[in-house]
């Protein structure tokens, strides 16, 4: 559209003048903004007040968003314009003229001449209050948005989830209320389902919700024992296990005070349970160590922990062996095994067969994968490298079966029956050098071969079960029976697998101690070099630990917490 704009003005000396300008545009904009085609001043004029467009063959004026215009004296928001019409905007007059040749429209603009100083100033927007900014509107919007997005929507989603309805993942749910990330395992198991642990609103996560998954976890104190105390019901899982602190925080609160709160005042609250008071891990604050050993039938050692039943296995009356707790320094273990650590570690008496060097701890003891326990020691792997079960120098390749006393007796009888009846064997075979502790046997016998063989076999069986052979390592009971097969009973070995159940100790971490390594590290705690009796426990007491460790209060010590050694949830 090509429009002619005639601006009518009065000069300072009140002479009327006009200035014509030409506008080429699709639409002619009118307003106070400086980039409008027709700029009008005054505080009632909006930056973009109105716009004039071609409409068919004529013109059309329309007000912008709520602005006020009058056409020929009538207020309107939009109107067709014809020559002669007058548009008024805040005291400014815009007259539509007949368009001259070459133009699509023509206007005469007469601006208000009586703009006062104050009006002049108010024509400019100089305050932020005059812009779109609004504290009140923003505040109201946020006041609605925050509770809606942060509370109402997550609450609705939470209720829908509880009723089994699945909501799209992009909809905010109650994870927006989470106090912090879950530990990785719980996050995998539970995902975004808060209700897995938080079943009821305004109620702590309940133990029964934990036990839905952790159904094998045992109580710290059995209900039967708890009933003997004045401790009341056990604490919530959440007392020690605090979630929503991953990845930095641990799920377990390991503070000693959680344990000491009960254990310090043992006598007051533990009722008839005998529990030593513990106030810390320092001299005088923690009782000496008690090892669990198996008590043979009929003895009355310190504390009975209930009978063990190993089921099957053919051991004679295993249920009569009971685990008892004994002080590590003064207690004894009746394992039915004879073994002298002192002798075996004496390099002048015992050497390895492979390189003739003194035995080391690792020659018999193999640390298990957990770093705490050791693989059981077996005759076949640990002992038989040195200790053969031969019984006759003339037949050094013949060895008695280990662990089967009756088979061993039969083998001895069979061997001598053949030796005394088979003429080719009578004096055959090389005679090995007699061992110093083996008895001198008169091999001459002039009786019938079977008589000689039987006598010789009884002699050898008696020798094996009472002087050398089985009896060297095992306790053998002589019941005086006339039947040689029934007379000797090898007592079963009763070693407990773990002296300290429900406690942890990592041997691997202690394989290097200050300047001690290897066997020296082992022997610093276990006095094997000087212990010749297998009944001695050789376990260190608390004093040994306190040389390097202490609780959180100790200075220059490696800190140990209760939970560093003790398991809260009983495993036995």
């Amino acid at each position: 559209m090509r429009a002619l704009l005639r601006q009518l003005r009065q000069t300072a000396n009140r002479v009327a003048e006009y200035a014509d300008t030409q506008i080429v545009a699709d639409a002619i904009t009118i307003g106070s903004a400086p980039d409008c085609h027709i700029q009008l001043l005054g505080h009632a004029v909006a930056p973009e007040h109105a716009v004039i467009r071609r409409s068919g063959s004529g013109l059309n004026v329309s007000a912008r968003g709520g602005a006020r215009i009058t056409v020929n004296g009538a207020a309107t928001s939009s109107s067709r314009l014809a020559p002669g019409d007058v548009v008024e905007i805040a005291g400014n007059r815009l007259s539509v003229l007949e368009q001259p040749p070459g133009f699509d429209a023509a206007f005469a603009v007469q601006q208000r001449a009586d703009v006062s100083k104050s009006e002049f100033e108010s024509g400019f927007r100089t305050e932020l209050e005059q812009t779109w900014l609004s504290k009140r509107r923003t505040a109201w919007t946020l006041l609605l948005l925050v509770p809606l997005l942060a509370f109402a929507i997550p609450l609705a989603t939470a209720l829908l989830h509880r009723s089994g309805t699945v909501t799209p993942s992009w909809v905010a749910d109650d994870t927006f209320w989470s106090a912090g990330p879950l530990t990785a395992a719980h996050a995998q198991a539970v995902g975004r389902k808060c209700e897995a642990c938080h079943q009821q609103f305004f109620v702590h996560a309940r133990d029964q919700d934990c036990r839905k998954c952790h159904d094998q976890v045992r109580d710290h104190v059995s209900p039967a024992h708890l009933a003997l105390t004045k401790l009341g019901p056990p604490g919530r899982c959440g007392q020690c296990h605090e979630e929503h602190h991953a990845p930095g925080g641990s799920l377990i609160i390991r503070d000693d005070r959680l344990c000491v709160a009960c254990h310090a005042d043992a006598h007051g609250r533990f009722g008839s349970l005998e529990v030593q008071p513990v106030t810390g891990f320092a001299p005088g604050e923690h009782p000496g160590f008690m090892a669990t050993v198996l008590e043979p039938p009929g003895s009355h050692e310190i504390e009975r922990l209930g009978s063990i039943s190993r089921g099957g296995g053919g051991d004679p009356e295993p249920q009569d062996w009971r685990p008892v707790r004994v002080p590590v320094l003064s207690g004894h273990e009746h394992s039915n095994l004879k073994f002298s650590h002192a002798q075996h570690l004496d390099g002048s008496r015992v050497q390895r067969t492979s390189d003739s060097k003194p035995l080391g701890c690792a020659d018999c003891h193999t640390l298990a994968a957990d770093g705490e326990h050791f693989a059981p020691i077996k005759m076949a792997t640990a002992c038989s490298r040195c200790h053969e079960l031969t019984f006759d120098e003339r037949s050094p390749e013949r060895q008695l079966p280990h662990g089967k006393p009756r088979d061993a007796m039969l083998m001895i009888e069979d061997y001598y029956a053949r030796r005394f009846s088979d003429p080719t064997m009578a004096n055959a075979g090389p005679v090995r050098r007699r061992l110093p502790d083996s008895p001198v046997v008169d091999e001459t016998c002039r009786d019938a071969p079977i008589t000689c063989a039987t006598r010789r076999a009884v002699f050898e069986i008696t020798n094996q079960f009472t002087r050398r052979g089985c009896v060297s390592c095992h306790v053998v009971r002589d019941n005086g029976s006339a039947d040689i097969h029934q007379r000797y009973e090898v007592q079963p070995v009763r070693l407990i697998g773990d002296y300290f159940t429900d406690t942890h100790f990592n041997h691997r971490l202690h394989a290097v101690q200050k300047d001690l390594t290897g066997d020296e590290a082992c022997l610093s705690c276990h006095k094997a070099r000087t212990t010749s009796e297998s009944s001695v426990l050789m376990l260190p007491d608390i004093g040994k630990c306190l040389e390097c460790h202490g609780d959180a209060r100790a200075r220059n010590r490696v800190t140990l917490q209760c939970a560093s050694c003790h398991a809260y949830h009983s495993q036995s």
């Binding site: 300008t21 001043l41 930056p47 927007r125 305050e127 925050v146 209320w177 000693d256």
Partner: protein
């Protein structure tokens, strides 16, 4: 000066309150650990949270107190002083309350809103310190109205002179006056943006006009100044000389006004963050408290 007495109110009494509150909070926080893990869920955490929530509610009350002209509950100046110092201490209290554990959750939302409110408050404090003296200096001790009055007179004087010039100069000068931009939208006020224009006649007669940029009125001044050497008569030269003088004076007044609008704008702009976010914070705080007990 109001801003100085704000911080030195009664010898900085509330500074010591804030320091005491912060140190007390740190001491309380330090008693956590081990049995009581550092977070809002311990009794220390709940205590710090309660103190923080009460503090937020009280700080927000300044908005009501300063409008209660009849209130005798302390002076507004005293309230404002306490508002500044205790508001700063709130940052310490709240950070210790949450043990600086943050995540994408409603609790951190409340913290972020609180931090935004406090930081916007710092901005406000900064402009209250720095702007008034600059504003006063810029106005040469006068008021904004005085500057506008002078501009009004200069406009009239420039129009009068322009009427006596050639039509093209007249159009350029008068359109430059009409299309002078002062203030306007948010950005124009806060950054003193100037997209003033003026209308120039096309070089070829009868080819209409065009709008060109007249930022800082420089185009208008240049236009008249260029006419000066070409003045054929002494009277015309004197006229143009006077016009340039008026336009330059006008340029200076406009600069001062723009600066005044900008400085005053910043003096209030922070409140457009501070106040609505305070309301949002109160809402988020309430949600935070309710939700904490829904899943505790």
């Amino acid at each position: 000066m109001i801003h100085q007495s704000l911080l030195r109110y009664r010898g900085g009494r509330y500074l010591w309150w804030a320091v005491g509150l912060s140190l007390g909070s740190v001491a309380l926080y330090a008693t956590q650990g081990g049995l009581q893990r550092h977070n809002g869920g311990t009794w220390q955490g709940y205590t710090l949270g309660t103190v923080g929530a009460l503090l937020i509610a009280w700080l927000a009350l300044l908005g009501i107190r300063k409008r209660s002209y009849s209130s005798t509950l302390g002076t507004v100046q005293g309230w404002a002083s306490a508002h500044v110092y205790l508001g700063t201490a709130l940052l310490v209290v709240a950070t210790l309350h949450c043990s600086a554990e943050f995540g994408w959750n409603v609790h951190t939302l409340a913290y972020v809103l609180m931090a935004a409110v406090i930081v916007s408050g710092f901005v406000g404090l900064y402009v209250y310190f720095s702007n008034p003296s600059v504003i006063s200096e810029n106005r040469s001790g006068g008021s904004r109205g005085a500057l506008f009055a002078e501009l009004f007179d200069l406009d009239a004087r420039a129009r009068e002179l322009a009427d006596r010039c050639d039509p093209d100069t007249g159009l350029a000068v008068k359109s430059s006056i009409e299309r002078t931009v002062l203030g306007g939208g948010v950005l124009k006020q806060l950054f003193a943006l100037d997209d003033s224009r003026l209308m120039l006649a096309e070089a070829a007669a009868g080819q209409g006009t065009r709008l060109v940029s007249n930022t800082d009125q420089q185009t208008a001044i240049d236009w008249v100044a260029k006419r000066l050497p070409r003045a054929e008569k002494r009277a015309e030269a004197e006229l143009l000389q006077a016009l340039v003088g008026v336009l330059c004076r006008r340029q200076m007044i406009l600069r001062r006004l723009r600066r005044d609008i900008r400085l005053n704008g910043w003096l209030r702009a922070w409140l457009y963050i501070h106040v609505p976010l305070t309301i949002a914070l109160l809402a988020a705080l309430l949600v935070h408290i309710v939700v904490t007990f829904i899943y505790w």
